[in-house]
Structure formats: C-alpha cells, structure tokens
Amino acid sequence: MADPTASTTRVTAAGSPGATAAAGGDDGAAATDGGAASSPPEDVVTFTLDGRTVTAPKGEMLIAAAERAGTFIPRFCYHPRMASVGVCRMCLVEVSGPRGATLQPSCFVEVAEGAEVTTDSPKVKKAQDGVLEFLLVNHPLDCPVCDKGGECPLQDQTLAYGPGESRFVEEKRHFEKPIPISELVLLDRERCIQCSRCTRFAAEVAGEAQIDFAGRGELLEVATFPDHPFTSYFSGNTVQICPVGALTAAPYRFSARPWDLDQVESTCTTCAVGCRVAVQSSANRVTRLLGIDADPVNHGWLCDKGRFAYETVNGDQRLTEPLVRKDGRLVAVSWHEALAAAAAGLKAAAARAGDARRARSVGVLGGARLTNEAAYLWTRLAKGVLGTDSVDAQMADGLPGDLVAGLPRATIDEMVAADTVVVISGDLREELPVLFLRLLGAARAGKVSVIELAPQRSAITPSAAVSLRYRPGDVAAVARALVDDGAPVPDGIDPTALGRARELAGAPRVVVVLGRPTIAEHEGLVADAALTLTAALPGVRFLPALRRGNVHGAIDMGMAPGLLPGRVGLEEGRAWFAEAWGSVPSERGLDARAMLAALAGDDPGKPEALVVLGADPLSDFPDRAMAERALDAAGFLVAVASTPGPVVDRADVVLPAAAAHERAGTTTNVEGRVSRVAQKLVPPGQAWADWMIAVELAAHIGTELAPESVAAAWDEIERVAPAHRGLTHAMLDARGAEDGVVVPLGPGPARRPAPALLDPIAFPGIESVERQGAPPRAGLAEPPAPAPAPATGATPGTGAETEPEGTARPPILALPAGVDAPHVAPTDAYTHRLTVGRRLYDLGDAVSSSPSLARLVEATALRVSPHDLDDLGVGPGDRIRLRTATTSIDVEVDVDPMLPRKVVAADWNVPLGEVTAGVLVDGRHPVVEVRLESIP
C-alpha cells in the first residue's frame, strides 16, 4: 500500500526504463530564469510548525505551507488546483489563537505571523481518527471490486491515520449503484464521501455546473439535473480526482488493478495543447491515461477526447502490414517490396515532372500526427532528397506556415498573465479544450479581459469582456477597426462594443489566440488580421490556435511550402541546408489547397505523385468534393497510415505506421514547447515508427539519412534547425524538464524548474502505479540514449559532424510584410454567409475509432438568427433548402439568437442531415455564400 505521506517525483522518465524516480533533493537541477536570483517574497510570515520555525508567503494556506516544509497533513476535499471548502475536516490541526489552541481546517486557514501550529498532538490525532471512522460509517468497503482499490486516498489515509477497526455495526446507507451520469462516467453514491471535488471541478474549473449536491445529511448525494446528463468535455477529470471509487470511467471500469499496470510519462497528442499524461498499460494495451499536473500546461486536467481516444490505438482496425496495389487490388507484401515500389513510383514522378517542376514534382500532405523527429526526417526526405517543396502538414484549415513560424509567440502562462487576450479563433473548448480551461480560469478570475472576434458564439463568450460578431470575410476589416479609430467599421459590428474593445486592446500586455474563427473563410484573411494587429500593437504576442496533434512541430520542422526546419525561410536557409543536406528545393512549392486544386483541375503544374502522411483530406480539407477529385486524379499515391480509410483505399502503396503511444520522440505544442512523447506499446504487426519509414524509404530511393535512432534524429535537429539550437537531447531528458522546453531558447540558461512533486491525494493513480505497478517490460520503451553530455553542456553546437561549416546559420523567420489576402466581394441582399465551426467529437478518425467517444457525436442543424428565421417564415425544427453555387441540400434549422443577421452556422465534419458541411464549402472562394429557401 502506498504511503500517502510521501510525494514522489514524476513518473519514471521515458527513455530510461527501470530508472526509479528518486524523491526529494538535488537542488542543482533548479536554475533560475535568465540567471536572475529569485528574491524573497515581499510578504513572508514566520510561524511555528510542530515546534519548528517555518516561513511561508503571506496568504498561503496552512496545508500548503506545511507540505512545502515537509509536513504532510492528510486531506480529502482540499485540492491544490481548486479553491478550498474545508468540508471533509480531515486536515484539522491545532492553531493557537486568542482563545487558546483550537482545531482548525488547515486548508482554510492562512498562515499567520507567530501562530503556533500543531499537526501531531493527541487532540489532532483523535480528530483525524474520528473523521476517518465517520467516513467509513457509510462507505461500503467494497474495495475488492472497486476500481480505486490500490490507489485510493481513502484506503491509503485510513491505513496511515485511521483507527484499525470500525465500531460501526449498523446497516449502512444504501443507494442504487452505480448510476450513469453520462455516457462516460458512472456514479456510485454509496462510495461517495461528499468531498465536493467533482462538483467544484465542474463549476469552478470547467465552468459548467452540471453536477451538484442534492439531499442533505448522510443522504447528501452528487446528482445531475433532471434530463441534463453530465455532458462536459472534461468529465473524466472528476473520475481522476475523486478520492474514492464513487466516480468511475466507463472505458476503464473493471479493466485493471493499479498494481497490474505500468506506465510512462508522455504528452497527449490528440490536440496541440500538449497536456502531460501518464500512459498506463497492461499486456501491450493502453489501459488508461491520467493527467499529470504540469504547471505551465495542463494543471493535471485533460479533455475527455484526449483521455479516452487511446481506444483507437487498442482498436482492431489497424494496418499491420505493407500493401501494394497489384491488378487493382491492395496486396500484402514485405517492407522491402513496398518501399521499393514507393521509391520507384516517386522517382518516376520526379522524372515525369523534370527539373523544371522538380520543386513541385511530388506532393506531401499531412504530417501533423508525426513526432518532431519523424517530421524532420520526412521533411528532409521530401525537400532534401526528392527536392519537392510541395509539403503541407495542414489541410487549408489552419494558417499559412510562414506566418505561424514568424509570429512572436506567447506561452500559456503569458496568456493568462496578460491584460487582454484577443481570441480570433473557433470555439477553443471544441478545438483546444485544456487551453480553453486555462483561459476560462483567468477570465473568470478577472485576471484577463477577453475580446472575442468570431462570427458565432463560443464557450468563452459568457466570460468575454467583448464579443465582436462579424460576418465571415470581415475578419481583417474588424481587426483594422479594432486598432484604428479611422478605419471603416464593418456592417453589423456594435460601435459601443468596438469602443470597449479598442480600450482593452490598448493595454500594455496583449496576447492574441490566433486560429480560424470559421473554416469557411480564407486563411489569408486571418493572416491579414494578424499582421494588422502586429503592426498596430507594440509587444503583442501570439498563441497560434492550430489544433491538430503535432501541427506546430511539423511546421517547425519545415512541413509547409517555403519553410525549412527551425522556422527558417527557404531562401534564407538555402545555403545552410544545402550544405547540411546536399540539396534543397529550387523554388517554393504548393500548399495543400493549391496541390489539391491542381490535381482536381488537372492543372499542368499538378504534383505527379502524392504522399499522404496519416491525414485524411476527405474529412479535413474544407472542400470535400475537390479533395475527392484530387485523390482520384493522383498519378501515384503513397499512404502512410495507422488505420484504413478513404486514402488507403485509393493508395498504390500503403506503409503501416505506429500510432500514438507506440513511438518515442518529441512533440511541440501551441507555445512551441518541446516535450517528450514516450513509447509504451509495441506497434501491431509490422507497423513501423514514421521516422524509420522515412529513413528506409530514403535508402530505397538511394540516399542514406544518417540518424539510426530517435535520439540521433533529435541531435541532428538541434544542430541544423536554428529555432532548436541549444535544446539538446540531454536537456530534454533532464529531470525537471518533464514539462517541456519552449523553443527558441532565450538568451539566458534554459528554465529548469525544480521537479514537480506529485500529490498522491490530488491526482491519485499515478504515484501508486509508480510504486506498485508492474516493472517496465524490456524492449518497450525507447532504448536509452547514448551517454548524454552533462546538462551544462547545453552550449550550442560544439563539433557536430553534420554541422555546416563556413556557412552562416540562417535567422529565424520574421513575419512577412504582407499577405495575399483574397478579395471578398460584397454580398447581396438575398445571400447569407456560412460560418463553420468545429466540434470536439466529430467524424474524424480519433473519435470514430474510439467506441466510447464515437457515440457522443451529435447530429447538428443549420443555425440561423431569429430575424432570418422570421424572414423565411420557418421555426426551429423546420427544414429549409440551402443552395450554394454548386449544390443544394435540405436541412433542419435551429435558432441561434447570438448569430449576426445574414450569417448561418454549421459545424465541421459532424452529421448535418444526411451530409456534412464539407459539401457546402467551395475551396475556390474566400467565403461561402448560400441562399436559404423554403421547401416548396
């Protein structure tokens, strides 16, 4: 049984299997920011703790101050990431006061100068004993069949602090058990100890009070509201922080005992926030993911998609062997044969294109789900070996790669410490859920003022200071009006709200969260808006809200036209990379939109072959019809994929790739934070890690790429990629760097926070597995890197082999001076503009192949403003005809009072009647104009 009094360091580091995390000590790992000595806090309080003199910052709660001083006070309701409520009474200690020493809840009492605090007196012991005995009065003690058994704070603290035996002989309280409170979470009210962690999480952290207490006395129970299940995207967190087995997760229930699990610490790559997770597995299957409290990133929270999408990896719909199309059918072949076929096809394509079109000969689409190392090697294969620059990790649903690479970046911590946050993006709760939590927390605490620019409401709208609802196509014009009093104000923008927004935008610290407010608006317009803000607001910084897995790492590794690894432009980096790689593309290539348009239109400049890296343009590219025509027209199609799908169905060669948790390396989040992803499982069948596929394919084409390990690949990145200069493999693996390191490194020494302690009561299930879980099995994790240089050897690039000599290292990209924002024609009185947002649970691969999540995908309706509905003479639930330039569909409508007039809203890649919104978007136009007609 775990000793709840002991906090341990984090999960055993990935890449060093068997290394036991050592507790405490080693302050040498803690360095300071920019070398500045940390000054003592201004207000320090000195008090006595069990006879010792202890200091703590003023305002700190006693329980936290004692913990830092090495005295663990038992607790249930207290959670370091939520406000105290002081209800479980487990943390009672004796505090001296005017009326002598009294029992006080240490989670609710601030440290006070001169106070005498006793945590181990007989009176305290008796109170703790009593509380534990009371808690067990109605607790069913069904530990042998409880998921929490073995990692249960109630079990552990009863052992450490409780009476050995209960004196309770009566009948316990009974409830029906368990009851589902959502599709994902079940509630066992008999086990509940009413600590209110779950209800507080829902109300305070997620901002959705969908669960609350009902009843009173010992019949106090957590309940949902009638007919309103606990549908929060963050419901899994309540399961993780529940200090007993009252809340259990449907996908995990009864699947394991903690002592049968082993784990590695990794980074979730379901979206681009980069939440730190403990990946726990048994028998080469992921059993569950638990959030790790990474201070700069996720604070321990995960979204349900990130938490449960591991079902995809475990699924039986996996590609396990290489396939080659023979006589029109895909046939399983050896890796050698498949690679040879792919190499031959790509070489032939290059030959067809000839030298003149070499930079556009082969199109490489996708790459956002690769590790940084794989993205780098695929970039090197495409740009250095094949010589093509038509590489794009995005599907025209993001932002131009060179804009993203050039944006002055903010971290998440800087966002929540800003004065004003301008959100120009889709609904963050749907796209980057935990980033949303961080922003929501700051906005609700009044720490930041949020200005929202979007055609439709989002989950941040109720907490925003100002929401500017604009018509798709107007984003750049609204941005100009925001920073320039003289600029014309687009139709429909409320002048009062704009005035307020202008005031807030004038604050000293402004951070812009920049994504795509609607997919049905050309990314060039958003880029134009970003440049307008940069020019007008000195010191403004950005968090690019691109959502897909490692899309930021892919862009940083050069997976966009005109880019090279390390945020370098093609022209600026030409000499440097030519020396490092042998060659670079002769000119800028095509982006995804241009590639697909050229293929679909049979343009003479089209790519002669297409390599699709774990992407699905049919789902993700805004114009589904165009994507379909393009894939059908591809002369030679190579699919690198983990699961079957429409791209694999059309491919000439299929190369099976390892999925998340099956490969090691690094990933990069929205901040540019590089953190480790760990391998926990052996890939199924013959699937290989993507980096290895790139190396072997290059070899079959006739070029040896040097790296023979992920570690060596990173070393090469560190040597040649300017933005990653100095971030050595050793630094990434160092203790204290678990939360990742933001690139490019600042001028001073890299920030190396002291190792975060894991509070086993705050985040149960991680520390216990660490202590008692199965030992890591040999051969699963990445082999240890060759003896790393000492941590202080972070001095950039000394004596590296492939480092170009005699060529100046190119500079990191600056923002482009301007962008080619498309012209948006004015609309007429009969036309509506379409806005398309995203939903967390969509028809994409991660959700569809996770059974628990797939059933959460909802059918949607076309949302229309009340005025427009009146004009049409229809009401919510009625059907109307929606006509675009190319198609016409009949859909159900719903009313959305927060939509501007003449704007209709749909969601991307979810059922919209019998189709999805993908059929409505025409990739050739910057906005989507539609007409609404009543059905005759």
Partner: protein, 434 residues
C-alpha cells in the same frame, strides 16, 4: 423569586384578534417608535439600543447594540432578519410573525435607520404559511402608509424591505447558511473566519443578521428609552423575553417574562404560566433553551431565567424554548428523537456531523428498541467527542457550524443523568416505558 408585573414589551397587542392589522397597530402606538427614531441621529438610535443592553434573542445571545456599534465603524450594506425558526419546541418568533407583523417591520426599519442600510431582508421559515401571508400583507400596508420605501415619513431616509421564504431546511437558521440561501444557493454554512457576516456577508458585503424577537423589541425601546428596558431584568439579561414552553405542562405556550426575576419553577408551575405537570406527576428533566442545549434536572428548577445564570449551570437559554419531561418520559427515547432531528437536518457538508449524526441516531434507535450493548454508552460518548472534542460547554467543534456540536447535548445529558435507564433498556431488551 416571583412573577413580576413587568410591562409586556412585545406581546402587548396579542389580546386583540386583529393585532396583525395596520389599523390596530396604529391605534396602539404603532410606528411611533420609528417616527421618533427618524428625528434622532442614527448614532443616537444605536446608542439607545446599546443602553438597553438588548441581548440577541436568536440563541447566541450577543448584545444587539454592540453588534451594531462594531459594524457602524464600517458601512453596512444589508440588514437581514432571521425568522427561520425551525427547532423542535421553539415557536416564539412564530407568534410574533403571525400576530404582530407590523411590530417586526417597525423594528427592522429602526435598525435599518440606525445602521443606515437601504436594503433589508426578512427571511421567514417556509412553513410559516400564515406568517408569510401576514408579514407580506403588513409590508404592503406599511409601504402604502409611507413607513417603508422612498423617503419614509418624509425623513429623507429610504429603505426597501424584502420578505423571503425559506425552503424547509433547519440549517438555514444558521446565519451564514441563511445568507447562502438568500443568495439562491444551497443552505451550506460558511466557514468563520473569514465569513463572519459582519465582514463578508450577503453578496460578499458587510451584513447584520438579527432575530425576529430582537427586532420586535426595538419599537418599545425607542418609545420608552433604553434605560427603561435595561431597568427590567438583572445583570446582563435585561428586559423581558419570550419563552416557548412545551412538553408535559398544563398550559404550553409562549410567555413574556421579565428576565432573571423569574425562575424555571415559576415558568413551569405557576398557575398563570405553565400551570404545572398534568396528573401531578413529578418533573424528571427539562431542556432550558431548545434541543441544542444540555438538559437540566429537578435540582436546577429554581435557576432564574437569565442568560449568565443558565450558562453558569452548564447549559443555555438559547432559543427560548423550555421543554418539560415528566417522570413517565423515556430519556432514551427523548434523546433519540432529538438526535433523529439533527440527523435529518444536518446539511451534510462536514463529515463529523453528516456521518456522526446518522450513526448516533442508529445507535440510539438500537438501544431504544432493545438491541443495545453496554459498550454502546462509551461509544456514544466517544463519537460525540469526535464532533465536539472534550464534550465541554460551551462546546468545541470539529465542524464548520454549531449544528454538529449540538448533537451531543441531549445524548450526553441523557447518559449522564439517566445512565441506569440506558442499562435497563439494554438488559431488558426493550423500553421500560413501553
């Protein structure tokens, strides 16, 4: 000791069947205290109440004037009147609310003027159907009369008064739970410190919370002066006080009695008051101040009805409820019924009270039904000790509010005074009283 001829301060009008109407109120000096107060400075009004040494009538017995003067250093935002009288056998506010609502309203207005608040709330127990109707009707009449609202009686002082019904939870009589409830939340008591209403009260603002009876005394004090009030009673316990007499007496009811001058024996046995125990049975025990209070036996029956006097003997005057138990009363059953009340009314927030109350209730029920064990007596006391460490009076507590440490009062008293009765239950396997 004797029954004094002290004036009736809060029950003077009760003899009239229309005592709740504005007409009767005005005909009997109604709103004169308020008119007088409005001619004085707020400080002078507060000083008058301070001079009366009016102890709060809600249970804690804190001097109202002192409460105000502490607050008047900082501006108070709200005045809240606690009319959530829900304890078993406590029904004195019930009478004031139903029979003299204008007197309550006038008292609230005087207090509001003294505190210079412009918004006050009367929180009434939801089950007071008639009381709610009458207070609301009286409030409407008072608005029409110009006593409430803008520029009352042309004084320039404006005040709005809102009547808010509770939803049936005893715990909302605890002032911070009442405030939560008033804010529209569950009635969970807040942690003090820091949530003393005076500092962080309703909507986070400094708030005064006073009891219905306390407020109802103010019109008389304004008319007759604080000194006249202080001349009644003795020591700290000044004026008259309402006592709700219940249990085994011939004339249960509410009696207004001058404090200290009268004894429990007078209250229970005097023909004009309780009239003695029916059937001339012997007094077994009585609860001097509501079911939260430790019990007294016949040997304490001559104690005067004074706050310090009762406290000195190890209990409290509390809510002004006196419950009489005659010799045929089963002490185990009585203590069990009280425990059951607390178990059902615990808000469920704190572990010791939520789980302890239910556990204690189960043990008491087991003993009463003849399934007790001798070791249960120590167990009861030890479990009580885990809610109220030391089982001292006044109690210490491991809980947020005082509901928890109220539970041990009756159990501890019953065991201390009638241990043999428990043992009979256990040995004979049933209740000897049938």
């Amino acid at each position: 000791m004797a029954i004094t001829e002290a004036p009736k301060i809060v029950t003077a009008r009760m003899g009239h069947p229309d005592s709740h109407t504005l007409e009767r109120y005005l005909a009997t000096g109604g709103y004169e205290g308020l008119r007088k107060a409005l001619t004085m400075t707020p400080e002078a009004v507060a000083a008058e109440v301070d001079a009366a040494s009016l102890l709060g009538r809600g249970g804690a017995g804190f001097p109202a004037g002192r409460k105000w003067s502490m607050l008047r250093k900082n501006p108070v935002s709200y005045l809240v009147v606690n009319g959530d009288e829900s304890e078993p056998a406590t029904f004195k506010d019930h009478l004031l609310v139903e029979r003299d609502p204008h007197q309550l309203i006038e008292g609230v207005l005087i207090a509001a003027y003294a505190l210079q608040v412009s918004q006050a709330f009367i929180y009434l127990r939801g089950e007071f159907a008639l009381g709610l109707e009458r207070v609301q009707a009286a409030l409407n009449d008072a608005y029409d009369h110009g006593a409430v609202g803008e520029d009352i009686f042309g004084s320039g002082f404006s005040i709005d008064l809102v009547v808010h019904p509770g939803a049936g939870a005893y715990i909302c009589g605890e002032e911070t739970a009442l405030i939560e409830s008033l804010e529209g939340k569950r009635g969970f008591p807040r942690i003090k410190p820091p949530f003393f209403p005076a500092a962080i009260g309703l909507y986070g603002e400094p708030t005064v919370v006073n009891n219905v009876e306390t407020m109802s005394n103010l019109p008389w004090i304004m008319l007759h002066g604080g000194a006249a009030f202080a001349a009644l009673g003795e020591g700290k316990s000044t004026g008259t006080r309402l006592f709700a007499l219940a249990g085994h007496v011939r004339h249960p009811g509410v009696f207004e009695i001058e404090m200290v001058k009268t004894t429990f024996a007078d209250l229970i046995f005097a023909p004009v008051l309780g009239g003695g125990i029916p059937g001339d049975r012997q007094l077994k025990a009585f609860i001097p101040g509501g079911v939260s209070a430790p019990w007294f036996g016949p040997e304490q029956v001559d104690l005067p009805l004074g706050q310090d006097e009762v406290a000195g003997a190890g209990s409290m005057l509390g809510s002004g409820s006196v419950v009489v138990m005659d010799e045929d009363t089963c002490a185990v059953r009585a203590a069990w019924r009280i425990t059951r009340f607390f178990a059902r009314e615990s808000c469920g927030q704190c572990t010791p009270c939520r789980e302890g109350s239910g556990w204690l209730e189960r043990i008491m029920a087991r003993i009463e039904s003849g399934h007790g064990r001798e070791e249960d007596l120590d167990l009861l006391l030890d479990a009580c000790d885990n809610i109220a460490p030391g089982l001292t009076w006044p109690p210490q507590q491991t809980t947020i509010c005082v509901l928890g440490p109220s539970i041990p009062s009756s159990i501890g008293s019953a065991i201390k005074m009638f241990r043999d009765e428990f043992l009979v239950h256990i040995k004979e396997g049933g209740c000897p009283f049938g």
